[in-house]
Symmetry: C2
Subunit: 291 residues, 2 copies
Amino acid sequence: MIPAFPILPNPNDPRLTRRISGTDQTGAEVTLSVVEERPLTIYLNAQEIVTAMTIGDYPEYLALGFLRNQGMLRGDDIVTAIDYDEEVETVVVRTTRQTSYEDKVKRKTRTSGCAVGTVFGDMMEGLEGLTLPQTAVRTSWLYALAHQINTVPSLYLEAGAIHGTTLCFEEKPLVYMEDVGRHNAVDKISGFMFQHGIPAADKILYTTGRLTSEMVIKTALMGIPVLASRSGFTAWGVEIARQVGLTLIGRMRGQRFVCLAGEGRLIRDADPATQAEEGRKHSRKAAADDE
Amino acid sequence: MIPAFPILPNPNDPRLTRRISGTDQTGAEVTLSVVEERPLTIYLNAQEIVTAMTIGDYPEYLALGFLRNQGMLRGDDIVTAIDYDEEVETVVVRTTRQTSYEDKVKRKTRTSGCAVGTVFGDMMEGLEGLTLPQTAVRTSWLYALAHQINTVPSLYLEAGAIHGTTLCFEEKPLVYMEDVGRHNAVDKISGFMFQHGIPAADKILYTTGRLTSEMVIKTALMGIPVLASRSGFTAWGVEIARQVGLTLIGRMRGQRFVCLAGEGRLIRDADPATQAEEGRKHSRKAAADDE
């Protein structure tokens, strides 16, 4: 069963932030909301796979999505249980299929940038032969999405130092996940899609972070044909997007954006001149703009 | 021998960026400078340790610093050779001591946020009993450093989507490293310090990225008592800084900053009111502010 859409951040969840006191530039005492960061060790059946540092919400989706995005959980795998133990900070995903990834876990790639995570085995594994559907994307949707995502109450606006990723359908944000690691936010979305059987072909993924190779690969493996961001690109990210035919849009701020791959999907139905420039008072910019 | 200070970014190095064409919001063709991102596989003697995604400059410092920050290279280890092979994208660090980290390499922690990397073994290893020197830090130095670092020509200003970390002495930036992964930038600085025997006790580390647990742990293990950033904090980063007695300064923008740990080192010799507010035209803000 699909939970009621949309899933939005809950900046008021007391487990996700902590009030911490210190001093400001004048020496006066100040108290800030600071995001939590805690370890979560993910197991697949009897095997310990990884310890991720995460803000701590949706541990089940994070575990499922991480395993799915690493190719350790197959699309047709039957998950019999997901056991999360808050006290010992572990989550165990159990499947009917017997799994063993000893060899795979040995080969790690430390990926770059804000989208940094650990990729086991060959990063490009699974990309050959992948074709993404030629779903059209209206630029009016992109503007509407950016506006909604940048203004909805979020931990980002409350405490900064966090990344957000949103699964979108046309001009509607459906699932908005946040995490200290942007790769975790994407994995949570992947876990959500796996758990509830959400189709990927007609979706758009919007992220606050940079469009690195890891982000592009994850998005493509999830089967989502369009990835948009307010941040910039890396050359390898663009190269992979072009290889797999993914639409890659970056530097999306106010009326501006740049498309460096998959231009063919764009339907330019919005007049950029009618879109507001991103101002000083724009809510996302107004918060501490953590990098 | 210590190379001539300072080491600054070289935004004109043609290996570090690529010109890529696409379209902007109006459909007009645009060409951007986009940072490179390439794999580098690091070996310690005969053992393959990790593949890092990096912009590609200073591979020798990156390898040395990565191994040093993971505790795989000891302070008293004698490095007999560092063999970098650009074509096969590998760097091999050779030591007189026989090394084997099979068990350690098996335990990985995927750390969070922009400072994301892979930590082998126990992240907190080496922190117990660590004492950082009570070096004083003048706030006038911090303001002078932030101003210089934010305005010096860099890949960040040229192409965005990159992080910078600077090793500083008093009000002087000494070594400014950039990378797609901020953890790589820090590792390159660590490698530089190891190679040239640079003392850490009187240094300040300045980073563009968030003050996560990984950044705080790396800085402490390097023996640097002060870490400053224009970005925000995570709760665990603050907690560890307080445990090890590291001075942690974040949200440093214009005249503002917040100190959440190690306040005792600060000498407040600068009047914040005489510092310029960070304006719209400030060069770091004016570039695409990648997150």
